[in-house]
Amino acid sequence: MWFLLRRVLVSLVVLLGISLVVFLMLNLISDSPGRAALGQQASQAAVDAFNREHGYDRPVLIQYVDYLLQLLRGDLGRSYKLNEEVGTLLLQNAPRSAMLSLAGLVLALVIAIPLGILQAVRRGRFIDRAATSISYLLYATPSFLIALVLIGIFSQTIPLFPAEASQSSSPWVVFTDPRSMALPLITLAITNVVVFAQYQRSAALEQLGMDYIRVARAKGASERIVLTRHLLRNAITPIITLVGVLIPTLLAGNLIVEAVFNYPGLGLLFLNSLHREDYPVLLAYTLIGGALTVIGNLVADLVVARADRRIELGR
């Protein structure tokens, strides 16, 4: 109980830290909001007036505190470029991104976990060596390159899937229009499987070398029972914790995939905001990303702690 509280407290501190860092960073490197809102053509006087009016000429730290208070009210700021509340923008795009991420993740896990275990059990044999070589190759390929190659083969040479993802506003498009989402999903899956499978392989190998596996065999259990009843549960735990920690990478992966396939999600929003220098959006986006990471780490920590706790009690 206390443990939970302490971790949450630390997470909050970290979140605060993130907000401070990002806020300061953006503040330092970006144009003043006045300039951003009125454009490059506007006169300096107009920009200054704008800034004064909206309080953008006060000391940075005071603006930061203001921002925090604003956040607590649930207000994520306003995008002047798009003339929309940031919160609304994010909410519009979030479900689509989340769906894509989730689908890609599930697909990857469904392939990677059995593959990793299979590789561990058949270590050194053909399937292991082949899978490892391929994953080495794929791991060295940037995700956008994978996407481009896929487009090249399955969209141009063999016109099977469209090169652009569905532009529909519905997040369920992954299921309703699988053809248009196929390539983005495959790209995401490939980039994830490569990492997950190798990870699962070494986790499974580590468990296979453990004494209790030997003991299970000494009881007369067949290989199948050894794998399912003994190995499985112990080999999968590491990768579950890994998934929790990998959420930020998934989001970034999304960014590239969304860019390549022009999928209207958070990632594309971020990129466009970057080009447009729409800083309120960038700020809110990074903050959300950070928050998700922190939450992901917290959950992973809790899972690990629960297992550790049992060890602590046992001592």
């Binding site: 206390w2 443990f3 939970l4 509280l5 302490r6 971790r7 453990m210 004494d211 209790y212 030997r214 003991v215 299970a216 065999r217 000494a218 009881k219 007369g220 259990a221 067949s222 029972i225 009843r229 003994h230 549960r233 112990n234 735990t237 702690a305 550790d308 706790r309 049992r310 060890i311 602590e312 009690l313 046992g314 001592r315």
Partner: protein
């Protein structure tokens, strides 16, 4: 029941071929216990694994046969072997922590063999498992069924392993070092349990171990293995009384016993056990054998019958009656003899030392629990005296050791060197006294920087303390090496190139580099093979006498401590329960725990094997929550109400013999009344 003939095992690692077992002949009869004894690389474990058909990857039986009640096991198909494993032949392994699945309950794991071999349902199997847990002596078995391995203590886990192995009532049980990782008192209980169960279930048992004392008490017949070969086998009594093979003889002679004469050097076997990867020509023991001849080096000895039924040995120059009374070498008379130390000044003084470790701070907001590792220990060590600290795991001796050399600061209390405080000081305040307190570590592998050469390791203390020029330091390094019996060629080597015994000597040499007044040796030989231990022990004893060093030897091995020290303190759960002259404490123990410890130590003497043992029962309480009053009361047969209320203090029972007990086994010099005991207890 089980007949092994000419068994040879090979393991292929890439292009390297290793032969851990060569030409072994063994027999196991119904209802008997066969002990297989050997050191590292002897092939004893591999033999057991071969019987189970569980050789490691790349391993296979290349020749020989294993006949199990008419069935040939070598070359048996997988499915048939699986039916036998866990069912007709079972195995118990050494490390119970890693041998149990951490994510399945204990009950399920014990029940599993029944599901596999008897086709029972999970529920029915679980019922039988609970009964089995009771049979192996686990209290409240029904509650333990749902526990996970890490929630149980080492002794409990080993019982679970035994339950798992025996639940299908196999005809043969192979126990591979079943008690090596356990405390001496628990070890005795587990071994007795195995003996009882063996009789109850009418099994035959193979007991694989490196400890000669264990086989004496628990095995009917013994096979001694060395370098992958069986060198001698026969009935236990015959083997010990009429030893024929030189190795067996040397091994028995080199083990310090509880009755060891301190002024005599231990019989020492030079060199180390052979590497299984080396090709074998002739007798594998020849390089280390004092009686080796040319024939031994070129021709592999063939088994010959000796006195006694079924007694076989393979040696060209066996032990004869003359040699049986080995020559005795006494230590030089120079240096301070143990009898003179009383007149010497007190060098090291420990006053009410306490050490508490807070339990891992994984967010403990509420109760701040701490492990009370050392709870108020006081004693003195005089100049030139060797003091021993014995105890089992969790007694706090290692924590105490670190505080003695000012490596850790005590929570309260003091350590005084020549009257000056050395505990809890900053390195600067400690100053030149730092050099006077040195330590020899248990694990030489971890205590020598793997990236440093030996000459750098030996010179480092002198460099740090700014002693001498580079030449003088090099000279001193060479002298130190010679002092521990090593040649100067070692200077250019790295630690991983040396054997365990050599590394341990380097550790000792380094500790002596600064010419300390006090040397603390923490488990100096526990990590070494049995045949090498005596080398290091002789060395330590010799050096201690020569230099008049005050030394503190910390060990769980009572025989080692007996051999090395003049006075000894017995620790239990952080408290010193008995202290006094070694001879006194060992022959007339006053504390029930000491008596139980001494009784539990396996002694390699068949004549003592049958004496009834007054053992210590039960499990070690958690150091987080030691029992109130006398810490030992939960396991003491003499415990009363008083013991629960008042913690006893050290009181004299002899000239140099004190004990902390309300009902000591030796009468107190001054009888304290209950009232006095109460006030003394409250003062703590």
């Amino acid at each position: 029941m089980l007949t092994i003939r000419d068994l040879s095992v090979e393991i292929t690692h890439g292009d390297r071929i290793v032969r851990p077992v060569t030409g072994v002949d063994l027999e196991l009869h119904r209802g008997e216990t066969l002990g297989i004894v050997g050191e590292t690389g002897s092939g004893k474990s591999m033999t057991g694994l071969a019987v189970m058909g569980m050789l490691p990857g790349g391993g296979r039986v290349v020749s020989g046969s294993i006949d199990f009640d008419g069935t040939e096991l070598v070359g048996l198909g997988d499915a048939a072997y699986r039916r036998i494993r866990g069912n007709d032949i079972s195995m118990v392994f050494q490390d119970s922590m890693t041998s149990l699945n951490p994510t399945r309950s204990v009950g399920d794991q014990v029940a599993e063999p029944l599901q596999l071999h008897r086709g029972m349902s999970l529920r029915a199997a679980r019922r039988s498992a609970a009964e089995m847990l009771a049979l192996v002596g686990i209290p409240r078995p029904q509650e333990r069924m749902g526990d996970f391995p890490h929630q149980l203590s080492g002794g409990m886990r080993q019982r679970v392993m035994i339950a798992m192995a025996l639940i299908c009532e196999p005809r043969v049980l192979i126990a591979d070092e079943p008690t090596t990782a356990l405390d001496v008192t628990i070890q005795a209980e587990i071994l007795e349990l195995l003996g009882e169960l063996k009789q109850q279930l009418g099994m035959a048992m193979i007991l694989v171990t490196h400890d000669m004392g264990v086989v004496v008490r628990h095995a009917d017949r013994v096979g001694v293995m060395y370098g992958g070969r069986l060198v001698e086998t026969g009935r236990t009594a015959d083997l010990f009384r009429s030893t024929r093979h030189q190795y067996t003889h040397a091994l028995l002679a080199s083990i310090p016993t509880l009755a060891q004469d301190k002024d005599v050097e231990l019989f020492s076997i030079p060199g180390s056990p052979p590497d299984p990867a080396d090709p074998q020509i002739g007798c594998r023991f020849a390089p280390r054998c004092a009686a080796a001849t040319e024939r031994c080096r070129t021709e592999t000895p063939r088994p010959v019958a000796g006195p006694g039924e079924g007694h076989l040995f393979a040696c060209w120059n066996p032990v004869d009656e003359r040699q049986a009374t080995r020559e005795v070498r006494r230590f030089d008379a120079s240096g301070i003899a143990s009898s003179e130390t009383d007149a010497q000044p007190v060098r090291l003084s420990v006053v009410d030392l306490r050490k508490e470790h807070p339990v891992s701070a994984k967010g403990v907001f509420g109760r701040r629990r701490s492990v009370k590792a050392v709870a108020g220990v006081s004693f003195e060590v005089r100049a030139g005296e060797a003091f021993g600290l014995v105890g089992e795991s969790g007694c706090g001796k290692s924590s105490l050791g670190r505080m003695l050399v000012a490596l850790d600061a005590p929570t309260s209390g003091e350590v005084l060197l020549d009257g000056d405080r050395v505990s809890g000081l900053s390195p600067r305040r400690l100053g030149s006294r730092r050099a006077k307190l040195q330590m020899m570590f248990q694990d030489s592998h971890a205590s020598l920087d793997p990236k440093m050469r030996i000459d750098a390791i030996l010179c480092e203390p002198m460099i740090i303390q700014g002693i001498g020029t580079a030449e003088e330091r090099a000279e001193r390094a060479r002298a130190l090496l010679a002092g521990v019996g090593l040649g100067a060629s070692i200077l250019e080597r790295y630690p991983h190139e040396l054997s365990g015994g050599q590394r341990q000597r380097i550790g000792l040499a380094r500790a002596l580099a600064l010419d300390p007044d006090v040397l603390v040796a923490d488990e100096p030989v526990s990590a070494l093979d049995v045949s090498i231990r005596s080398q290091v022990l002789n060395l330590m004893r010799g050096i201690q006498r020569e230099r008049g060093l005050s030394s503190v030897v910390i060990s769980h091995d009572l025989a080692v401590v007996r051999y090395l020290v003049d006075r000894v303190g017995v620790m239990y759960l952080g408290a010193l329960v008995e202290v006094g002259a070694t001879d006194e404490v060992y022959t007339r123990p006053a504390h029930p725990y000491t008596a139980g410890l001494l009784a539990a130590v396996p002694v390699a003497d068949p004549d003592l094997a049958d004496t009834p043992v007054d053992r210590v029962h039960g499990e070690l309480p958690s150091p987080l929550d030691p029992p109130s009053g006398c810490r030992f009361r939960t396991r003491c047969p003499l415990a009363t109400d008083l013991c629960a209320r008042v913690e006893p203090v050290l009181e004299d029972v002899g000239d140099d013999h004190a004990v902390a007990c309300h009902f000591p086994l030796q009468p107190k010099l001054r009888e304290t009344t209950t009232a006095e005991a109460l006030t003394a207890g409250e003062a703590r």
